[in-house]
Assembly symmetry: C7
Homo-oligomer: 283 residues x 7
């Protein structure tokens, strides 16, 4: 009896030694991998900054974030590995992964998705604070871009919190000049050439006076035959954010010019054919 138990105890000691060696080895590996990883992150961000692609402040934010994510992931793997070495074999961990992990994972998944999208929003400079953007059904001015949520202030004053994962196609209205567009309906009786000449004069004057206009308003021609009017279109390029003001000024000037030249913006027209007035045949 004694002899056999002795052997087992020895075996146990050896096993303990192996475990200790493994633990030490893992810790060393952990330290090395962490150091290498951090260096890699630092170097790639240094390169980014040197290239001038990213501003200094933005690079610092992104670098800190990258290091954090890397560290947490590494620590998690370390814990899982140590957990495993102390005889807690596959089953319990799978169970942990299978139920708790999976359940929490589903919640965390969204979180990770938020952070990854947020990372690229920052890195690719898709949106900056104070940009006027449209994201899904929300449009307004960006108030802050966080790692989990982006805050957009609608023009009616509402503050919208959008989880980054829900930000797919971003329409940024603050990246370049915006178009100002005014459609004018003139009567079918009007001479088109004359009407366009009047509009051109207005365009030239507004284009000269308004400093927000980048590319002079042009009368591009007959856009459509409406039910009661011929639609003429005027297009201009304005500084981003000034396009509505330009459109409003254009509309006011055009109204005044048309009034001055007696050109009518027609009301809806209808031809009425009368029956049964004098002789109520059918009714």
């Amino acid at each position: 009896m004694f002899d056999f138990i002795d052997i087992d105890w020895g075996n146990l000691l050896v096993e303990a030694g192996i475990i200790a060696a493994q633990v030490i080895g893992i810790l060393i590996a952990f330290v090395i991998v962490r150091a290498i990883g951090k260096k890699l992150i630092n170097r790639s961000f240094d390169r980014l900054t040197k290239k001038g692609d990213v501003t200094n402040g933005r690079a610092l934010t992104l670098r800190a974030l990258s290091e954090n994510v890397f560290s947490y992931a590494l620590i998690f793997i370390l814990v899982a590995t140590l957990f495993n070495i102390f005889g807690l074999s596959v089953a319990s961990l799978i169970a942990g992964a299978g139920i708790v992990g999976l359940a929490i994972g589903f919640g965390a998944q969204g979180l990770v998705s938020d952070v990854v999208t947020g990372f690229f929003l920052l890195l690719e400079k898709q949106i900056d604070v104070n940009d006027y953007v449209t994201v899904g059904a929300i449009d307004g001015v960006v108030e802050s871009v966080g790692l989990r949520t982006t805050q957009i202030r609608s023009f009616d004053g509402t503050l919208n919190f959008i989880p980054n994962r829900d930000i797919t196609t971003v329409s940024n209205h603050s990246r370049g000049n915006m178009r100002a567009l005014v459609d004018i309906g003139v009567s079918y009786d009007e001479n088109i050439d004359e009407a366009m000449a009047v509009l051109k004069t207005v365009c030239e004057k507004v284009g000269k006076d308004n400093s927000a206009i980048v590319e002079g308003p042009d009368v591009i021609g007959v856009q459509a035959f409406g039910a009661s009017d011929v639609t003429l279109r005027i297009i201009a390029k304005a500084k981003s954010g000034e396009q509505w003001g330009v459109e409003r000024e254009l509309r006011k000037s055009i109204k005044e010019a048309l009034d001055a030249h007696d050109i009518e913006i027609p009301f809806p027209h209808q031809v009425t054919i009368h029956k049964g007035l004098g002789n109520p045949v059918q009714s």
Copy 2:
């Protein structure tokens, strides 16, 4: 015969010893991990509170919640581990995870998702009780933010229970001043400048008298050429929740001013061309 069975019994004893050692080791690890985890949670919330990012009450709620979630997860892992040590190897647990676990997990998944979202709703202060918010198709005043459901009272009196997982983009109408907007249609025959002057006088008066207005109502210009009228737009900033009242007052004052100055808000216009009255050619 006797000899061999003897060895096996010894082996069994040794195995029992190993198991006992494992159990003890796991319990110790459990206690240590739990202590460390709780400390980490406490410290991070302390930091949060010190920074002043979160109010005391909110921090307490979140800390209690975090500790609970952490404890339950740990207990689950402990049970799974012990389960495993007592010879109930992979299979039964996988089966448990595979069928029961998976089935329950699907239910619980939603639950976890609710709790995670609820956690961030509180942490990021996206909604507070008494905020007027829009969440999906529901809008109203928040009555309570729970970990599983948020209750929103619609303006018609309905109480809406929304599972937190269904709360993605939150539009909070109580974070800053709101816009009041009134569109006025004036006749094409009217002099636009004169009409705008009248409206400006009204705006100044209302802006002075109404304390709910933060940024004086402004007549921003010709917003559109309507079918029968020229649309002028008036915009103001009002205290959150007062915007509708401001709009109603603006409308009443404008109506009175336009009546006083004999400026018409035109009905829909139509030009009728008559055929066949005297000479019913076609009919």
Copy 3:
């Protein structure tokens, strides 16, 4: 030859002993876990009842349900474990889980999802029998809340069976007073102040006479400039379920008062400009 086979038989016997021991150990563990689990369930429901959060009847229903679910889950795990001990290792069970289990699981999954949602519907008192609720596209009066399906009787008499899993956002119209809202269009020619005075008188009278009204009907002002009328809005708070009756009474009284004061509810207006009557130029 004989010698070696002898050893194997002994080994088999020992194995049988181990198995027997395992079975007994598992059964004991099963009994203990079940007892503890039941106690936990009972205690937590006792606490719930004491706090007065839940009515006695409801607590009994929920406790019975919780115990059942717990028992079935435990029995399933027990069977799976025993299955495993008798040499039916991972493979067959995974296969069972992988194909049959997965297939049935998908069906059962919905079932579990139903039960979990039903549990929370009851626990959080989101809907009670006889509440008037809106759930998705269905609205009506709740007839019964089951663990799998909830039955809602529409106002047209239809009985709707809704699987609980399809119940997400619940809009409960029976939790507090409901709003009664009446919009009245008065002519642009009318004096707004006078019209509002008449409406206020009606509101006061109806508010006094109708006991279903909780918060007196108020004329809140000019809600909109319509195409042919100025819209005035009246709002009241009525007891839940009485709001439609209140609205109908308000409408009838308002109609009578406006008739008495000769204030017109205008028909759609249109301005017609005639062409070609005497001189059919264009036609």
Copy 4:
């Protein structure tokens, strides 16, 4: 050489014995589990029938179905287990589950989902043959409820085959009396009280004469201010399936009564303001 091979053959023999024992054990377990399972199914259905919850025919259908499903699942597990014992370890079965099984499983999954839903449709008596129901976009009279598909005959004669899995919310119009609803528009010039009195007389008469009406038609009041008329609403409860007939009879009687009392159902009204008739200023 001979000696060692001898031992292996012995080992093989022993292994064969173990396998044989396992097979027998499994078969015995299979028989026992099957017997117990069948008994459980029978007993639960007996209880159901005794309680009177389910008709005899329905119970028989469900019992047969339950036994079949149970048997097939058991046989599958048996085969998988035997497969495993004969040295075909995890891999091949996982491969079978992983590719073929998964592929077929996806098809079968829908099937299982159909059967599970069909089971509950029958068990919970959500739809019976000849009920008039709405399921998703389909509405009509149920012709048969199968385990895979339900057949609904639309009123236009179309026969719809709906896979049971697509049946979620069931709106059953044959479970209780249905509402008959008629909206009548009367002129703004009419005296509301007088018109309601006329309608009440009609309602009383129709309510007395028509045996399909369960709850007498009531004039509930002024439902809305229309553009050209005041809408009065009449509501009645009719036997399920008779509501349309009741509505048609009500409409006919009301038309006759209004004609008799000279109360007009008004055409759309419009106020026309004329410009430019005598003096075509603008045109």
Copy 5:
């Protein structure tokens, strides 16, 4: 040295023997399972044919399909098993299943789904060639029902290829008589009883003359109060596919009868109230 290597070689030989035995055993099992499976398939189809549920041709198609699917699945499992025995343990197969298999599986999955649905379309006789059916957004006449796609010819001549997996709810318009429905608007001035009498006479005549009508056209009453007319509804049952012809004939006959009896189908009506004709006050 020699001695030990000798043992290993022996061991190898023994292993080879075991493997050979396994291969043979598996092949035998394969042959047996295949024979049994084929017999089961044949017998169940024999039973189906005897019951007369399925035509002979259809049964042959289905039987051939079932055997093919069964054979391929079996061969796949056989290959996987043999693969495994020759020392290619779990990993490589899982990898194969995990990446290639999964990727291909996703493609094949749709295929299997197509075949399973096609199988049931045929088995349950949901659609036959030349049936007029509606499937999702497509409606037309079935040209062929294949195992992967169903071809439907729209009435405009388009040939639609629909993958069977996209066929869920099938609306078959060729399973029984179809309803013909004609709504007639008569003037509010008309006597309803008289108009219905005229329509009844038409219905009787058409019902007698038209052999496609199964259930005589009936005037079921006042369906609605329109804006300008009282809507009377006529319903008939026609042979499937003849309903449109019946409706067209009914419409023609009704038009002639109404003309003969001087009953007007009214144009839209409008009441115009004139302002500002003699005294252009407002304009």
Copy 6:
């Protein structure tokens, strides 16, 4: 000491031998399976071509594709297997499958799905180059059918690239004659029989003159009672692609015939009832 290490080295040698044997065995199996697979593919395509189901060119494309896919899949499995034999057991491969593989797999999945669908598009001849088809929201003429994308040229000149996986229901307008349909509204005052006779004469003439018409245009009867006209429908069968031309010619001829016979295509009608002309009571 020496002795034991010696044994291990021997063991290692043996293991190396086993591995070598395995590698050779696998390579042989690989070659055999590849040969068999290629033969199977060739033979099945030979059969397809012989049956005349597929053109030669198409069969060659499909055969090459099938062989490629088969080869790549086989090579992948081979690599995975060899990887495994060299001591890189489950874990690393699962990790590779779990993370990289899964990630890439998701991208590749779409690719496989594209190729599988493209394969069937070609095999089942659902679309050919120059067919006019509708796929989802896109319709136009097919320019090319590739394995990953199909290119469709819209009638406005746009070239659409559609991933094959997004091609589900294909509506092919070039498989048989197409319907030409013209609806004509004639006045309620018109004699229907006379109008239909005129239309029939036109139809006969157009049907004779226009070679694109396959089945003579027929006046099928009174399709609807419109608000202001009785709608008569004319239907013809035209060669695919010529239906619009036929419709245009029919419309022109009908217009001329109706003009010749003085049959009016009526404008919208309205009955106006005048109030307040002579006695402006209400206004």
Copy 7:
């Protein structure tokens, strides 16, 4: 005691040797596989460039990308393999894969999906910079095609960032000539042939003068019978991007020609039947 421990240490040494050998073997395999992979990538791109399918610049971009992706994947597999060899068996890696990996994987998945789609966008030349394209709800001019996002500038000046994964069907309007289409409504009183002759003259002139027109504008015939006009359609092929200018010029020229020939573009027509003018019977 000593003896046994000795053996274990020896065993450990041997194990270390095996591990070292494995590591070296793996590194060698890694180097070889990498070299082969790079060569394969290079050769296939060489072939692509030689065929002239891809421009040189594009091929370089794609080659660099392919090599990067290949290298990173290989490094990952290497790390995972080494990780595994140092005794970190299945569990920890599965845990890493199961939780962290899965979570990160979900984020990375989108990334991979972006890159794969971007790769094919470039390879298949679906979009080029400066193409005018429609992708989902966005249309505009492509500013850049990246591996993660594509930037499209809308005509109103907005810059849209679209993740490549959201780019499925691409409608490219810059691949060939575009259609210019003008619909002209002429009066029912007009002679169709004469009107078409006038339009043809205009078309010929515009077609000759405008160099942007590729295929002369044609009057294709009577497109529709409108409510008040007969619609004639004119179609032309213009250089991509010039179609709107061509349409505008066509419209202007047509308007002038119709004015010159006194052909009216009719306003909406309505036939009014008067009642109650002289004898206000009903009103």
